[in-house]
């Protein structure tokens, strides 16, 4: 199939959305678009599977390559390998779920869904592009919708958070740009021209000195997107101010853009430099993991809890990448997918709670299991996944990272791994504290004119929310119970 469909379809959906009128039409359109994306993603998966089983050896499949800017040898070059397919699936899932949970969005709903669709388009484009220019292009395409989504529909210090997020991400992409330019001018293809093409660059060997100079730029730049310490501070504010769907996208997809970018940079573009700097990467990752976890302990707002835990979890991604063993990298990818689903689910649950109770303060909530069992169950599942319970995706991913990390015999690396392992205990602590207070315990809803009586206000999830949560949970279980398909997908 033509990969460009993944870009074109959301684009068309977005454009059509502009001409829809009335909330009903708009969301119907958005949903159908998202569902089509999901279908497309699955078709892609199966076709990829066929190709591989019939023994197609190519690094990337379904490649399309059009010359875009001749003089600069910039191509529109797309193609996928297992990793990108995993990310595409993730995007598709989160998109559908995100649109479903924001079903009853009143304020400017046309613009809202328009931006969501645009965001997903950016993500798809990013994951399939094999030309650094297009990669960068889509990376930045995905920034502005976030800014608007948070700023317009956000809560709390929305404008501030939106600005902070946009600026920090811009800073990230600025660094990425420098890195890319550096790479570009250090490539000498046979034709004598420079190139942005990932695969070609992977073939021709960039001088190690140049790698050492430009790796930090590229890696840190992408790192900003995936909450690399100390550039993670946009995460808590951004996530907590964002509307539910936006939080889901932010944590579920756009933080993965960064991880994916780091992965490509470290494994394909500048492996030598990656080895050279791996110590630092691991150091930062470990700090993010541990310190993110501990910082989470002190949070009182559910969204902040999940945001900080995202910092901690994305640390695993970077750790896996930094360890640079095959297994660890595989683990990093699995962690990206798993965390994407899990955190999206978590934010969805939090959003549902917030819609009903109008508060996110742990102290003000309690015993919601009594009035909204379904949402509570979702919350619990998300929580358990986050603390790495076997049978859910989180465990598989983290364990893979650990196994991979442990392959590095260096004592300091071992230490980092042990600390990372230790974080799962801390995770358990904060997740269970939140869960024990909000879900269990005596029923309580305060700080918002709502009485803690079961009834219309504190109703359980609606059909759309149920489907959304169901989708994500299916994804989580699919990985958690039968991880082998994912590993095959990634490694093949």
């Amino acid at each position: 199939m033509s990969l460009s469909l993944l870009i074109i379809l959301p684009l068309i959906t977005a454009l059509v959305l502009l001409f829809c009128n009335g909330a009903k039409q708009v969301r119907a359109m958005a949903l159908s678009g998202a569902v089509m994306q999901l279908v497309l993603a699955f078709i892609l998966l199966f076709e990829y599977w066929q190709q591989r089983t019939t023994g197609n050896p190519g690094i990337m499949l379904f490649e399309e390559d059009h010359l875009w800017f001749t003089p600069l040898n910039i191509h529109y070059h797309v193609g996928v390998d297992g990793i990108s397919i995993a990310m595409i699936l993730l995007t598709a899932f989160v998109t559908v779920a995100g649109i479903l949970v924001s079903w009853s969005m009143e304020k400017l709903n046309k613009e809202f869904f328009f931006l969501l669709t645009l965001l997903s388009m950016g993500a798809y484009g990013f994951f399939i592009s094999l030309d650094l220019f297009t990669l960068f292009f889509f990376l930045e395409v995905a920034v502005i919708p976030k800014f608007l989504l948070i700023g317009i529909w956000g809560s709390g210090r929305a404008a501030y958070s939106a600005m902070k997020l946009a600026l920090m991400l811009m800073g990230g992409s600025a660094l990425v740009f420098v890195g890319l330019a550096g790479i570009y001018f250090n490539t000498q293809t046979t034709g004598g021209t420079h190139t942005f093409d990932l695969l070609q660059i992977a073939q021709l060997h960039i001088p190690v000195e140049a790698q050492k100079i430009f790796f930090p730029f590229a890696f840190a730049g992408f790192g900003v997107f995936t909450a690399l310490f100390p550039f993670h501070t946009w995460v808590p504010d951004g996530h907590s101010s964002a509307p539910t769907a936006a939080s889901m996208f932010l944590a579920g997809i756009s933080m993965k853009l960064g991880g994916y970018g780091c992965l490509r940079v470290a494994t394909l573009l500048m492996p030598d430099a990656a080895h050279y700097y791996s110590g630092i990467i691991i150091l930062l990752a470990t700090i993010a993991i541990i310190y993110g976890a501990f910082a989470t302990m002190m949070q009182t707002d559910l969204k902040y809890i999940n945001a900080y835990s995202s910092v901690s979890h994305c640390g695993f991604v970077l750790l896996g990448i930094g360890m640079l063993t095959k297994t660890a990298v595989m683990g990093a990818v699995m962690q990206m997918v798993s965390h994407g689903l899990m955190t999206a689910l978590f934010f969805a649950a939090i959003g549902m709670l917030y819609d009903r109770t109008h508060t996110r303060q742990v102290a003000q909530l309690g015993g919601l299991l009594k009035v909204m069992p379904f949402i509570a169950a979702v919350f619990v599942i998300a929580g358990l996944c986050s603390l790495g319970l076997p049978g859910l995706s989180g465990f598989v991913a983290e364990v893979t990272v650990f196994m991979g990390a442990w392959q590095n015999a260096d004592t300091l690396y071992r230490l980092a791994t042990i600390l990372a392992c230790a974080s799962i205990v801390v995770t358990a602590v904060y997740i269970l504290r939140a869960m024990g207070k909000v879900i269990m315990g005596p029923l309580q809803v305060e700080g918002s004119g709502i009485t803690a009586q079961p009834g219309a206000l504190l109703a359980d999830a609606g059909w759309n929310e149920k489907i959304a949560a169901g989708l994500l949970i299916i994804g989580i279980l699919a990985i958690g119970i039968a991880p082998f398909w994912l590993t095959e997908l990634i490694t093949k």
């Binding site: 010359l67 875009w68 800017f69 001749t70 003089p71 600069l72 910039i74 220019f133 960068f136 292009f137 889509f138 930045e140 395409v141 920034v143 502005i144 800014f147 608007l148 700023g151 317009i152 929305a158 404008a159 939106a162 600005m163 946009a166 600026l167 811009m170 800073g171 600025a174 660094l175 740009f177 420098v178 330019a181 550096g182 570009y184 001018f185 100079i213 730029f217």
Partner: protein, 469 residues
């Protein structure tokens, strides 16, 4: 020969013809503003169309006037810009009593620019430059009643006279040092001797004044703020663009021998310019003044591109100017409309703009994104290529500084977007109905913003015409 003359100077001749038509009309008949506007815009459209047909390279008056495909392209870009500006200013000019004069002055400056661009000789260049700047002063004063307007005009004329004084002094030194005024001959005599450097600095100051490079930029903000919006947009896009075209060709051809020196100068100046432009832009409340400083920052980025001193550099510059025409004029279009219909020019006036005027808001937003360099707008491609050409020289300090400054510029562009979409406002700008011409202009601009970037052919074409070393 004669045929050549008419073909090679086609652009200039057409403009001259239009100018004289207008003069005659002014004297002879008393057309209503409306019909006059229709007429002029029609003529400008013709001019634009004519610009594309039957061009050929060549030179006249022993190298005083020369033209080639790139120059033709540059002229066409300027004509396009002129058309857009005139369309936008329609709603302002309707109630103005001196429409004809306005256009006469405007077209005189355009004519000056054309000559300047095709100048092969410092004399021709100087004449063109003055022709393009003196009428501007008069135009800046075109809101005859307004204090600010005349103050702006005064500041402009004084500064530009002073600048051209220095420029001339530089030219005289160059002449003294080389004994010629013709570019092609000059290049062979230039060597990096202190006299040459001094002369070059003076010339650079002259150029820098026109394109408002720090520290020669100080007039910019005041004039932009005081002048009528139409004039401001003209200043910020067309006159800058024209000078840039000349600037790069002078740098790349005449002063090629002392490239090392001017490279460093541009390095310093670009960093200064970017920083100053950004830092001042952050604080501005008058949207015209804000756009002035943002355009200064843009110039900084352009200088970065120029330092690349390669074919890529030239191409990126021309490409960027084209994009800049679209994006900046789109922004000014909205501003012009709002200020013409409501007279409000403060950033704070734009709070809650989206509630009342969604379409205008989107136009303005897209324009700002294009200026900020956000994909998929053309601005992204423009900036990317500029910085890339800058990086070609391998000076990554400069690139990093520039790239990180993008964050600041991003901040103040988003500040406007924030005001438009997110801030509440008790008395927002009321719902405006967009008249035909401005609407057309906006459509052109937005289309340009979208197409110019995504369609790779545009850049390829420009690149194929460009030169460098």
């Amino acid at each position: 020969m004669a045929g050549d003359f008419f073909i090679l100077m086609k652009h200039e001749l057409i403009i001259t013809v239009i100018i004289f038509t207008l003069l005659l009309l002014k004297i002879g008949s008393d057309l209503s503003n409306k019909s006059l506007l229709n007429l002029v815009n029609g003529l400008l459209l013709l001019n634009l169309a004519a610009g594309f047909i039957g061009n050929q390279p060549g030179m006249l008056f022993n190298e005083m006037f020369l033209t080639n495909p790139l120059i033709v392209l540059e002229k066409n870009i300027l004509s396009l810009g002129t058309l857009i500006v005139s369309l936008q200013s329609a709603s302002w000019l309707k109630q103005h009593e001196h429409v004809a004069e306005f256009y006469i002055l405007l077209l005189c400056t355009l004519l000056g620019m054309f000559f300047m661009i095709s100048a092969g000789n410092l004399l021709m260049f100087y004449v063109g430059l003055e022709l393009s700047s003196i009428p501007l002063a008069a135009m800046a004063n075109f809101d005859l009643g307004k204090r600010k307007s005349s103050e702006a005009a005064m500041k402009f004329i004084i500064s530009s006279a002073f600048a051209s004084g220095l420029l001339l002094f530089g030219i005289s030194l160059v002449y003294g040092a080389t004994g010629t005024l013709t570019f092609s001959e000059m290049a062979s005599h230039i060597n990096g001797s202190p006299l040459h450097i001094f002369a070059f600095v003076l010339l650079l100051a002259g150029f820098g004044f026109k394109i408002s490079v720090v520290p020669f930029h100080l007039w910019t903000a005041d004039v932009y703020e005081g002048a009528p919006v139409a004039v401001t947009s003209w200043l910020s896009v067309i006159s800058k663009g024209s000078v840039l075209f000349v600037f790069i060709s002078v740098l790349y051809t005449v002063f090629k021998p002392m490239a090392a020196t001017w490279y460093n100068m541009l390095f310093v100046l670009s960093v200064l310019t970017i920083f100053t432009g950004n830092l001042f832009a952050i604080r501005q409340n008058n949207i015209k003044r804000f756009l002035a400083f943002s355009s200064i920052a843009q110039i900084g980025f352009i200088l970065v591109g120029i330092t690349g001193s390669s074919q890529l550099g030239t191409a990126s510059l021309v490409y960027f100017v084209l994009i800049y025409v679209f994006s900046n004029l789109a922004a000014f279009g909205v501003v012009a409309l709002v200020s013409a219909l409501t007279g409000r020019e403060q950033v704070s006036d734009y709070k809650g703009f989206y509630k009342t005027n969604p379409v205008l808001s989107w136009v303005l937003t897209i324009a700002l994104f294009s200026l900020a360099g956000v994909p998929p707008t053309a601005g992204f491609f423009g900036k990317f290529f500029l910085l890339l050409s800058g990086a070609g020289k391998g000076n990554y300090v400069l690139i990093t500084i520039a790239a990180l400054n993008m964050i600041i510029s991003f901040y103040y562009y988003l500040r406007i977007v924030k005001a438009i979409f997110m801030d509440a406002n008790e008395q927002p700008i009321e719902r405006l109905t967009i008249p035909g011409y401005p609407k057309l202009a906006m459509i052109i601009c937005v289309a340009g913003i979208i197409v110019t970037g995504l369609v790779g052919y545009v850049y390829d074409y420009i690149h194929s015409l460009s030169f460098g070393f």
